[in-house]
């Protein structure tokens, strides 16, 4: 209204020129080299690449667990320096649930620990989200009595309950059997359709990337670099389009640059 031209708004999440290095007992490993990309609000952003492309390391850096050796990562224009409850990680490992808490307590825990809600309200919210992932009957079970798929659903409920800016998922379904994986992918998409949460999803499965992603970032290994970014497919895209995209991604990932 003032007539002034606003400067281009920064993206929701900006990853600019990020080089990530970690130290092993014997050497420095460069996991990613000068990686650039931007994620917008309510994207389902998939990072896809073979092992060694640094996709998980990138996700950890967005989570705040690693500081880039070069470049920077900013969420809403604020540099990320440490882990925080505005970016909830969901891991592949089933032991991400606290074994000493029931399903509902697990979902309520971060709400209380981060000071978002008091104990009573957190319990109520947790019960709602546990119901939402279809585990109402298991609300008072301990994690060790659940199957792998159910544990991952609890982790997802825990992430959604926090209503984070970013949901960071690191191959969350990789340890599940194929049938369960398919179902979990569909459930995740349904849950995200109801919740305006931005997703960053790491996988090495091309078909999973196509099912989940509204944008797909292809990374090449040693060190990890961005190969290209492709748009995902709409949910109602014909199977032929998916097969076509799969062929294209396959070609891009394995062509020798």
């Amino acid at each position: 209204m003032s007539g002034m031209v606003a400067p281009p708004a920064p993206s929701f999440l900006e990853v600019s020129g990020v080089t990530l290095r970690y130290r092993t007992a014997t050497s420095h490993v460069t996991a990613t080299y000068r990686v650039n990309f931007a994620v917008e609000q309510s994207d389902r952003f998939v990072m896809l690449g073979p092992s060694g492309c640094g996709k998980s390391t990138l996700l950890k850096a967005i989570g705040g667990y690693m500081v880039p050796a070069e470049g920077g990562i900013a969420l809403r224009g604020v540099p990320i320096t440490r882990p925080g409850p505005d970016r909830i990680m969901i891991f592949q490992e089933f032991d991400q649930l606290l074994p000493w808490k029931t399903v509902t307590e697990n979902v309520a825990f971060p709400l209380v620990a981060s000071g978002k809600l008091d104990r009573r309200k957190a319990k109520e919210a947790a019960a709602h989200f546990v119901e939402g992932v279809g585990l109402g009957r298991f609300a008072h079970s301990y994690p060790h009595t659940l199957s792998g798929g159910m544990k991952q659903r609890v982790a997802i409920a825990r992430g959604l309950a926090m209503g984070p800016d970013l949901l960071l998922m690191d191959e969350p379904f990789a340890a599940l059997d194929e049938l369960t994986r398919r179902r979990m992918q569909d459930e995740l998409l349904a849950l995200l359709a109801d919740a305006p949460i931005t997703l960053i999803f790491v996988t090495h499965s091309i078909s999973e990337a196509i099912r989940i992603g509204s944008r797909i970032l292809l990374l090449s290994p040693h060190p990890g670099r961005v190969r290209i970014e492709l748009p995902g497919l709409p949910a109602d895209a014909p199977a032929a389009a998916a097969a076509e995209l799969e062929r294209e991604i396959h070609g891009r990932l394995f062509e020798h640059a």
Partner: protein
């Protein structure tokens, strides 16, 4: 009850007319570990009684019946109870101090890498050292009294417990640590809400080991200088009965030590285990 709810969709269970057939009385008895252990104790008691009667020498090995009647007499006139209370009071004091120090050392070890090395070096050096070997030094430093006993007790509890807590903390899965930090937990809240519960199986095991070590060390220490601290504990009781050649009394004292150990194991540690690590599936 938790176990039942884990069964995935029990479709069609109602179709079966008989879902379960109860086991016979004998099979159920034999299936109970309490029953089997009770049987072991009965067999031991019988062997003891028979051997004692065959030997017929109360100075060497009195039969169980005599030990029991002596035990009942000493309990009734209050001597054994008083001695046991003296011992337990000392034990609890030393145990509590040792536990607090073990936690403190581990908390410091988390906070700094140097303290971590200090802890590892100290436990490596001092854990193999029998606490009772420090008693002569303790006597010089703290004199003939409770101070010396507390000192060796703390020593006997601190190092094994510190070692176990440390092992427990280091074994906490990386994923759980990252989860804790994800929610913004840091410092003491991180230790209290993530590390301690996640390491609880190790901590509990350490508490049990520490209890056993402390108990042994205490009785041994009381035996060594029981004479000098009149009104001593169970070790002193055993020592005195031996001096008076009242061998059934010696056995009665030993029996008390065993009974207290069993009671603590079954009335304290087992229920804690059942309510925590077993329930959480962190220990089968």
């Amino acid at each position: 009850m938790e176990g039942c709810s884990s069964m995935p969709e029990p479709h069609g269970v109602e179709k079966f007319e008989v879902a379960e057939v109860p086991l016979g009385v004998w099979a159920r008895l034999w299936g109970s570990s309490a029953f089997r252990k009770g049987l072991v104790i009965l067999l031991l008691a019988a062997a003891w009684e028979i051997y004692g009667r065959m030997l017929d020498n109360d100075l060497l090995f009195p039969p169980l019946s005599e030990v029991l009647s002596d035990f009942v007499r000493e309990v009734k006139d209050g001597t054994l109870v008083r001695c046991a209370l003296v011992s337990l009071r000392l034990l609890l004091l030393g145990y509590a101090i040792g536990f607090a120090l073990a936690l403190l050392l581990n908390a410091l070890a988390i906070a700094s890498r140097f303290m971590h090395d200090v802890l590892e070096t100290l436990t490596a050096m001092l854990n193999p050292l029998p606490a009772i070997a420090l008693l002569p030094l303790a006597l010089i430093w703290f004199g003939l009294g409770y101070g010396s006993i507390i000192f060796v007790l703390v020593h006997s509890v601190l190092w094994p417990l510190a070692l176990n807590v440390h092992a427990g903390f280091t074994a906490v899965p990386q994923t759980l640590r990252m989860v804790g930090r994800n929610y913004g937990l840091r410092g003491l809240r991180y230790v209290a809400q993530i590390l301690i519960p996640a390491a609880f199986p190790s901590i509990l095991a350490g508490l049990k080991i520490g209890w056993a070590f402390a108990w042994r060390t205490l009785i041994a220490a009381e035996l060594v200088f029981g004479v000098s601290t009149g009104g001593g504990g169970l070790g002193w009781f055993i020592y005195e009965r031996k001096n008076e050649l009242e061998i059934p009394g010696v056995f009665a004292g030993l029996l008390t030590v065993i009974v207290i150990g069993l009671v603590v194991e079954h009335a304290l540690f087992r229920p804690i285990e059942a309510r925590t690590v077993r329930r959480w599936g962190m220990q089968s």
